[in-house]
Symmetry: C2
Amino acid sequence: MAKVLCVLYDDPVDGYPPAYARDEIPRIERYYDGQTTPTPERIDFTPGELLGSVSGELGLRSFLEQRGHTLVVTSDKDGANSVFERELPDAEVVISQPFWPAYLTAERIAKAPELRLALTAGIGSDHVDLQAAMEHGLTVAEVTYCNSISVAEHVVMMILALVRNYLPSHQWVLDGGWNIADCASRSYDVEGMQVGTVAAGRIGSAVLRRLKPFEVGLHYTDRHRLPAAVERDLGVTFHETPESLVEVCDVVTINAPLHPETEHMFDERLIGMMKWGAYLVNTARGKICDRDAVARACESGRLAGYAGDVWFPQPAPKDHPWRSMPHHGMTPHTSGTSLSAQARYAAGVREILECWFDQRPIREEYLIVDGGKLAGAGAHSYSPGDATGGSEEAARFAAG
Amino acid sequence: MAKVLCVLYDDPVDGYPPAYARDEIPRIERYYDGQTTPTPERIDFTPGELLGSVSGELGLRSFLEQRGHTLVVTSDKDGANSVFERELPDAEVVISQPFWPAYLTAERIAKAPELRLALTAGIGSDHVDLQAAMEHGLTVAEVTYCNSISVAEHVVMMILALVRNYLPSHQWVLDGGWNIADCASRSYDVEGMQVGTVAAGRIGSAVLRRLKPFEVGLHYTDRHRLPAAVERDLGVTFHETPESLVEVCDVVTINAPLHPETEHMFDERLIGMMKWGAYLVNTARGKICDRDAVARACESGRLAGYAGDVWFPQPAPKDHPWRSMPHHGMTPHTSGTSLSAQARYAAGVREILECWFDQRPIREEYLIVDGGKLAGAGAHSYSPGDATGGSEEAARFAAG
């Protein structure tokens, strides 16, 4: 019988369950490319409930306990005295979410001899040292596509909000003012702008499709070129390099996974090549951007605005400069954990665990590392190596 | 030689001109339907500048003064002692903006014997008593299409922001928190929802086109049905009545002009027919919604959120309930006055004035009332009658 160690974010401060705004969520059976949404044998939760926080337990407890397994759920993930680190040595399965990542560094993997499966309830396995995972024969899986559309919607929302100057304009309402000129003097239309995505995978392509009717110029760069028919259909221009893309774009959105090649890609140099007054939206991973270079560019005006929902480390410290730099539209890491997304990733985790314990194959599209070998999905998105470096900062934050 | 009386909003508190975020705005030559953007003989401003506030003067001063006309610009528009009311009696042309409307009531029109042309620098002539304008033989014109896309972008932005719970999530960042569960427990994806527009004119259709790739169900109601090919292309369902539309929609957006038939359309009764936890976005005119019914529905949870940028009266008093009701995403009336929109409506005003003073015909699509008769564009959008009632509230606010 296995021990499943599940690291989830804290419950809402207003208690659990919350007073939901809506009675139900739309039923979605297939993604854009035809892939089906998760197909577990059954679920023990109601879609639309808060499942991603500790009391929600991803709806897994009765399923696991009926089969004789042990479920440990905690939000305490950073530092040597954390529940996560104490419970890790005899865990067979670790489940974590990108929004509240339990960093599985090489050191931690070395201390977990029973560990076989590292599961992301969401998308993105950069909190796992994939090199170490391969060396230890682990399987690393994520719920591919489960929240790609959630993130794509967040990207479009943030582009519109930055360009149109939404957040400061809303603040004038709260402050009792009617200062239209103050709102308008940083407000533009998106129409006619050049918008580019760094990577055009599931999220990047979904962003491009959603932006097409906005009558903008579309651009992308990626290590995998889109089929010519898709390029034509979207009217999107391919760029061999991020440099070529950023030089012509008014808005840049980052939709690449974090791996050693993308880590700190948007540094002083690349940001310095962007158009004056460009907008940058990063819902991919915080470490793809250089923290201080972004803050300086917002101060100088090189960037007219920066938005996104990914930080490093996570949770972001109270004094993280992206909380206070000018013209930002940040959220905590929430784009992929809407209640709609939670229903899908909880069902996907259930599907993967059903397969795991029944010794049926896990869907290929979910596999990043399969029994120690980089799997198809992993090879498409990741480069060998490790991008967890610096996650000890999180531990310092937890301790401090 | 004519006197042109131009009512514009106040300059930014940070002074004029502002430090612009960007060097330029995209050049747009035609709208979606093929209509050309404004074609004045020349302009005396740089597109992208702040033109809509008093110092900006819509870029008109040198043009008018070189021709020997007088230009009076003021933001002081409400009450009997306002500059507007004092300057009105010998004005031939009045220019006003919807964002800062100079209400041309029947009483004011009666006191302006020289008045011939009431021009909206933007779209929407509901601040003019059209009945009185017709009786006095006035011409009423607006810069049709100039900011329709600006507003459509605002609508999509606000739908995404309400459904995804953007504003409260951003506030957690500013407050130093990482309360993901608090952000997520009111956050949904738009995907799969049913979204309906009340009216599918230039703005409503542009909203539908932009929402189509979000994979939502689209709905509309309008007194003019769209061509069957357009309905098919958008995959949009027609509803004979607003009642039929709101009963099935998760999100409703209002894109109708204000006239006696639409005034207070969204009252207690119609809002009560909406789905529990629906979202309502109104960037059309404040008076299309019953102020207190909206606030009560946000309090009760009938509406999961309300957003928009139109109020009544304008400026909205500091104690207007839409500033403080729960789950709102309001802005001051800014959607149609982005710097991009300003460049177009300033050019459109210039085009109309060039025609007026050169006695050339004004473009048909700009004319609401033409020398006292309801013109083509006016007949399409407006019903005879008056929707300026209650604008004396604005005067009380100005006095108070």
